[in-house]
């Protein structure tokens, strides 16, 4: 579990993990359109999501599995851009009171705003829109200097992903810079739902036992049972993406006929997302109750 936070510097993301295990949920923004995304995010929060990762779609999502790749493609085809993304975030951040994290690839961050300006304009716009932190899967710690600086300047957390392959040496470097939470990649590979919890997850959590920041495990979690097992294994939360995106994908592939159909369908999807979030949150809580109370808690 996360150790006692320092109230003076604790971010709203860290706070989201403070009392109970957190459900971090991901959607690709603009999939299948901006309005639906807002509806879905609200539903996830209703279901129990403590943090929402809002994916800003990039044309070359090298860390994603097929499910999220396709979601990103749909969002791009529907016209999602960074500016539209920030508009949407600004709307949402008034609406829901969980921290919003932007997940995207480095080139979009790098290109935003004036050329030659580096990552700062993006971070500034994100902060203004109400983003609390960034996750950039193709930005390893060694290349993160300029972005980290900008995040600090604008009060954003920069979340790093710890992989099963991460060496101790690299882990130290990451923990030096990480804020918000530590994203523990539960297994090798890309995002996508799986049917079991990898043994790598447990190894990673053990390595992070002494870490002050909360630890959320992602990659492959789709069911109550996974969430339970992971939290019971020592995680402070779970990150779930593909399981939600799958629900959204079913709708878009069904293809609706009329506008009222659309609305009904959106409602239906929102309900299923909410239910899925609830299932996972419950799993996490169940796992939490299995954990022997640690000292200092």
């Amino acid at each position: 579990m996360a150790s006692e936070p320092d109230p003076a510097t604790e971010s709203d993301i860290e706070e989201a993990f403070a009392d109970e295990p957190a459900l971090v949920s991901y959607v690709a923004v603009g999939d299948p359109d901006a309005e639906s995304t807002k509806e879905y995010v609200r539903a996830l929060v209703r279901g129990g999501a403590d943090v929402v990762e809002l994916g800003l779609p990039f044309s070359e999502p090298i860390a994603e599995g097929p499910t999220i790749q396709q979601a990103i493609r749909r969002a791009l085809d529907a016209g999602m851009t960074p500016d539209r993304y920030f508009d949407l975030v600004a709307d949402l951040s008034g609406d829901v009171d969980v921290p919003l994290v932007c997940m995207t690839y480095y080139n979009l961050i790098y290109q935003y705003g004036e050329s030659e300006a580096g990552p700062e304009p993006f971070v500034e716009a994100a902060a203004e829109a109400g983003i609390s932190g960034l996750i950039v899967p193709d930005l390893p710690v060694d290349e993160s200097g300029p972005l980290k600086e900008a995040c600090e300047a604008h009060g954003l957390d920069l979340v790093f992903i710890v992989a099963p392959t991460t060496t101790d040496d690299r882990l130290d470097r990451m923990l030096d810079r990480a804020t918000g939470f530590v994203y523990v990649q539960g297994r090798l590979g890309t995002t996508g739902t799986r049917t079991d919890v990898s043994s790598e997850t447990h190894v990673s959590l053990d390595r992070l036992a002494d870490t002050k920041l909360p630890k959320a495990v992602g990659f492959g979690i789709s069911e109550r049972e996974h969430a339970r097992e992971i939290v019971a294994g020592g995680a402070d939360g779970v990150v779930v993406g593909s399981a939600f995106v799958d629900i959204i994908a079913e709708q878009s592939s069904a293809g609706s006929q009329t506008q009222s159909d659309d609305v009904a369908e959106q409602k239906n999807v929102a309900d299923r997302l909410e239910a899925k979030a609830r299932e996972l949150k419950e799993g996490a809580l169940a796992g939490w109750n299995e954990v022997p109370e640690p000292e200092g808690k």
Partner: protein, 414 residues
């Protein structure tokens, strides 16, 4: 020139990959330094020997008599088309598969566009007894059938990539994902001087045998260094291979010829660039692990590139080339589809060499601007064009190219 030790070329380069890959990349960097730079365990000796016995090196530097006459200057061709497999690609593929073996890896993955790098990797893997899987976009599979057959004949798996435009970019993404999943026992043999450090430098080192030979050959044959070296640039591996040993020779012009496609404009609506001239008109950005020049829209979304030549059809370019172009050491130019097709026919009929469509771009520049190249020119013929016959016949026909011979011999057939 920038220091290379940090994996950067000026501002370009770097290592922009998922954390899961970073340890593998660090391991690779270490292996690169030990085996390739320091020749540990005699790696470089074995590599060079296999390049000779298996690959057929050295390749000739041939004076092209009829082109020389046509352009009224001395034109020499560096004959990478004669390398085993039919392109310069084997220099790199063999180097990397051998390195993977030295590193104790037991599986190879690679992406391929035109199929040349996939074929070269499949050959090298078969030669060294390494299981091998190649990712290839569906569109490329369909337009490069002979190369797909060749990979399969070498018993490499060919994994079709059905997303997006089904070309090289998607194949690279898919291979990165495979690598990220199987990183512990797998080496990713990247096909050009692109990707995260140490790839751009390592691939360049494996390819620089081209300029090492060519520099010595031209001095022997022409008695001096050339006025310019011309090579086509997709990712830029044959380019850097042909340039590297000349970079310090300041009087030698280095000309990188990109694919001008059908036009240098960009269709932002559709996210399409009808060319692949990232060095000439691209903007700085991060793609496939490195900061470099890219074809992208102002948001940073990567554009689909286009060229009649599948091997040049890529939205990025190697970071070192981007840096050398910024520094003014390399001159980026481009040649369009029509001119490349013409050059293909020209070399075939005048010199008895069928060049790859990629290489035809370099030859097309020679035709269009011979006077820019000085009196003594080396053109790198990066590969042979057997793989391109169907495309060339079809495209020449569609454009009614004068230079194209008629194929009516088949018409009377069964």
């Amino acid at each position: 020139m920038s220091s290379e030790s940090d994996g950067k070329f000026g501002d370009y380069g770097g290592q922009f990959v998922p954390e899961a890959l970073m340890p593998a990349i660090e391991e690779l960097t270490d292996a690169y330094e030990r085996y390739v730079l320091d020749n540990e365990d005699g790696f470089v000796d074995e590599f060079r020997q296999r390049l000779g016995d298996f690959g057929g090196r050295p390749t000739p530097l041939q004076r092209a008599d009829r082109l020389s006459e046509r352009y009224d200057r001395d034109v020499y061709l560096k004959r990478e088309d004669l390398l085993h497999g039919g392109a310069h690609k084997l220099n790199n593929a063999l180097g990397q598969v051998l390195l993977a073996k030295y590193m104790g890896k037991d599986r190879i993955v690679a992406e391929t566009g035109a199929g040349q790098h996939g074929t070269a990797t499949a050959m090298a893997a078969a030669h060294l007894g390494m299981p091998c899987e190649i990712y290839m976009g569906r569109t490329d599979i369909n337009r490069q059938r002979p190369n797909v057959f060749r990979m399969r004949i070498h018993d490499a798996e060919v994994n079709p990539v059905d997303v997006g435009s089904g070309t090289l970019k998607e194949a690279i993404n898919a291979t990165m994902r495979d690598w990220a999943t199987n990183v512990e026992d797998t080496h990713y043999v990247i096909g050009s001087v692109v990707g995260p450090h140490p790839f751009p430098r390592m691939v360049r080192d494996f390819q620089s045998i081209i300029s090492e030979e060519a520099r010595e050959q031209i001095r022997e044959q022409a008695g001096r260094l050339p006025d310019s070296v011309v090579a086509c640039a997709g990712g830029g591996s044959n380019t850097m291979g042909a340039f590297h040993e000349f970079v310090g020779d300041e009087d030698v012009g280095l000309v990188a010829v990109e694919a001008g496609g059908s036009s240098l404009t960009i269709d932002e609506e559709e996210g399409l660039a009808p060319h692949s001239a990232s060095l000439s008109v691209g903007e700085e950005g991060v793609l496939h692990g490195a900061r470099t020049k890219l074809l992208q829209n102002p948001d940073g979304q990567i554009l689909e590139s286009h060229s009649v030549s599948a091997g040049l059809d890529y939205s990025g370019v190697g970071p070192e080339l981007a840096h050398l172009a910024d520094e003014g050491r390399v001159r980026p130019v481009n040649v369009d589809d029509d001119a490349a097709l013409d050059a293909f026919h020209r070399l075939s009929t005048l010199e008895g060499i069928i060049p790859a469509l990629e290489s035809s771009h370099a030859l097309g520049y020679l035709e269009e601007n011979p006077e820019q190249l000085g009196d003594l020119v080396v053109v790198n013929v990066s590969g042979r064009g057997d793989k391109d016959l169907d495309t060339v016949i079809e495209e020449s026909d569609r454009r009614d190219l004068d230079a194209a011979p008629s194929m009516e011999v088949f018409e009377g057939g069964e």
